[in-house]
């Protein structure tokens, strides 16, 4: 098991800088998820930890030892690839035992370890098959099995579930969570899917444009996003962001409504309100009035896409079933203690 420490890590291709000032320390046994939109540099960062991509700036330490220039084989880290990257000319057992084969482990030791890993992953009847004879989910399992057999200091996952269909993805997500509990190993997991991030992570690293936006537990990111990007990236449906301006201790919205917030510092440019933190109310004494544009009945929840007078579109999520139809007039009130205020740069400015 291992502690990872990233100090001022940066990456440039020629003059193009793709990662900057990455500082992160991963505790032993921690599950860290790197999340962000595609092109934000999260996969590059993972490959730098793996040793597949040179580090152009900063330091990477594994258990206190500088690893910047160590070859992948010397870092004792296993990686599960998005494409699975199974060796097509080797059967499942040999795929899983390949790392031991390279290290020159004895055949019987190899066989017993592969058999054990195959059993926990439900692959024991498939060990003689070639990868091409496996389904997507089975290939995914073999890729995980290959990492497990390694018995590494840390596991890296590069979007391992993005090639699976929705149902299988949920199943494999659970399996990865179980694997983490069972092995207690340090894991770094890259995804663009915030649901995977929120469900798996001990801590999430939100990245955008090659820069870490915020590091925190899933609930910290949800409750107190550091900026507008994190606020809109974490949480589904997406947070509503409305233009606003400060008026004394209160915030004025473009439809004239006044919302009083605590702990405001500096000028306010925008307010962020999550759809689930808005409630339907009587139009006569509501903060917002407007009409329902589209209403989605999901059974457990109702999503209302409203057109608000003087503001524009706003999304509201109500728990349970709401008898509302497209075109109906509605009023909406805000839960002021759950409103996020951002300044002109997008940084959060209320406590």
């Amino acid at each position: 098991m291992a502690r990872l420490e990233l100090r001022d890590i940066g990456k440039s291709y020629g003059t193009m800088e793709v990662l900057r000032d990455i500082n992160l320390s991963v505790a032993d046994g921690e599950f860290i998820v790197l999340v962000g939109p595609s092109g934000c540099g999260k996969s590059t960062l993972l490959r730098m930890i793996a040793g597949l991509e040179p580090i152009t700036h900063g330091e990477l330490l594994i258990d206190g030892r500088r690893m910047n220039d160590a070859a992948p084989r010397d870092r004792d880290i296993a990686m599960v690839f998005q494409s699975y990257a199974l060796y097509p000319h080797m059967d499942v057992a040999r795929n899983m035992g390949f790392s031991m084969e390279i290290r020159g482990a004895r055949a019987e030791e190899r066989r017993s370890k592969v058999a054990a890993a195959a059993k926990t992953l439900g692959l024991d009847v498939l060990t003689e098959r070639l990868p091409k004879a496996l389904s997507g989910g089975q290939r995914q399992r073999v890729a995980m099995g290959r990492a497990i057999v390694r018995d590494p200091q840390a596991f890296l996952f590069d979007e391992p579930l993005s090639n699976l269909d929705a149902a299988l993805r949920v199943e494999m997500r659970l399996e990865i969570a179980r694997l983490h509990h069972r092995l207690g190993a340090t894991m770094v997991y890259v995804t663009h899917d915030q649901v995977e991030a929120l469900t798996l992570a001990d801590r999430i690293v939100v990245m955008n444009g090659g820069i870490v936006q915020q590091v925190g537990t899933p609930l910290e990111l949800y409750d107190t996003p550091a900026n507008r990007f994190v606020a809109q990236f974490i949480g589904s449906p997406t947070m509503n962001v409305l233009p606003a301006s400060r008026e004394g201790g209160d915030v004025r919205l473009s439809n004239g409504a006044l919302i009083s917030l605590e702990g405001l510092e500096g000028p306010v440019a925008e307010l962020g309100i999550r759809p689930e933190h808005l409630d339907l109310a009587d139009p006569d004494n509501a903060t917002f009035t407007g009409s329902a544009d589209v209403v989605e009945h999901l059974g457990s929840d109702t999503n209302i896409y409203a057109q608000i007078d003087g503001i524009g579109p706003l999304m509201v999520r109500q728990h349970g079933h709401v008898a509302l139809r497209a075109g109906d007039r509605l009023g909406i009130v805000v839960q002021p203690e759950r409103v996020h205020a951002f300044d002109a740069t997008g940084a959060r400015i209320n406590s």
Binding site: L52, Y87, R146
Partner: protein, 280 residues
């Protein structure tokens, strides 16, 4: 998944006819080669247009093998073609791997230069090549042919090999390196087995190209000792007559190594070896 579509019998019959027609068209010269090779000399002109001679003989083959320099030509050709194929494929594989996997300065220029060499008609450069080979003192020797053939085949073979390497996902090498391989081990244990079809195809292609090359062989080789097949065939043309039977018999024998070579490598030419490596 393949979907079975039931076609009208007339249509499949038409298709069959078309394929048969093409086969006859393509194979007829080879048939004619075989036919003349078994025709006795005295019947070559009298039964010239018959599909099969009234008496067949293997005498031409016997004469070719035992009374001419055929075995020398054969040995020379085999030596030149195998060496060219081996050397070219080795260099092309290394070059193709580098082009496929590494970014280095001057790569684009190198590719452009390789392409450039393919743009000139060979006739244009025969004279300079002759001068160079003569200056090297390699005229009338088999290594001169190997050298020239290798040089001329490397660009195409490199592009061919590069496309095979491109077809192998880079993730596989990364995975092998994560599994504890050095880059060279990854190449040997993972990439090489997957490149066998590509190596086979390249070997086959270069072998056949070298086997049937005549232009340079004609220019650079004079002595019978160092003649390759295509040039050797011309020795059956004498001042007053052409010994068709023996020439054709030699031609048939010349086909044999090519056929054997392709039978040998055809299992490596079967595609689809990399399927199942990535994605679902």
């Amino acid at each position: 998944m393949s979907v079975q579509v039931r076609r009208s019998p007339l249509r499949s019959f038409g298709k069959l006819c078309a394929i048969l027609f093409y086969l006859c068209f393509a194979l007829f010269p080879i048939y004619w080669l075989v036919k003349i090779s078994v025709t006795p000399d005295q019947l070559v002109y009298t039964e010239g247009t018959k599909l099969w001679p009234s008496t067949a003989t293997l005498g031409n083959f016997g004469k070719v093998i035992f009374q001419t320099d055929f075995l020398i030509f054969f040995r020379n050709s085999l030596f030149v073609s195998l060496s060219t194929a081996a050397v070219t494929t080795l260099i092309a594989a290394a070059g193709g791997y580098a082009f496929s996997r590494f970014e280095f300065s001057g790569k684009r220029i190198l590719v452009a230069l390789l392409l450039l060499t393919q743009m000139f008609p060979l006739l244009m450069i025969i004279a300079p090549i002759y001068r160079i080979v003569a200056a090297l003192g390699l005229l009338n020797s088999l290594p001169s042919l190997i050298l020239v053939y290798t040089a001329f085949n490397i660009p195409f073979a490199t592009f061919l090999m590069q496309s095979f390497f491109d077809g192998i996902p880079k993730d596989l090498e990364d995975a092998a390196m994560m599994d504890g391989c050095s880059r060279f081990q990854a190449l040997r244990k993972v990439i090489l087995p997957l490149t066998l079809p590509g190596l086979g195809a390249t070997l086959g292609f270069i072998f056949t190209a070298a086997w049937s090359e005549i232009l340079f062989a004609l220019m650079l080789i004079r002595s019978n000792d160092a003649m390759t097949f295509p040039v050797g065939l011309l020795t059956f043309v004498s001042k007053f007559s052409v010994d068709w039977g023996q020439m054709m018999a030699a031609g048939v024998l010349a086909l044999v190594p090519s056929c054997i070579f392709f039978i040998f490598i055809q299992k490596y030419l079967v595609q689809g070896l990399t399927s199942g490596a990535v994605k679902g």
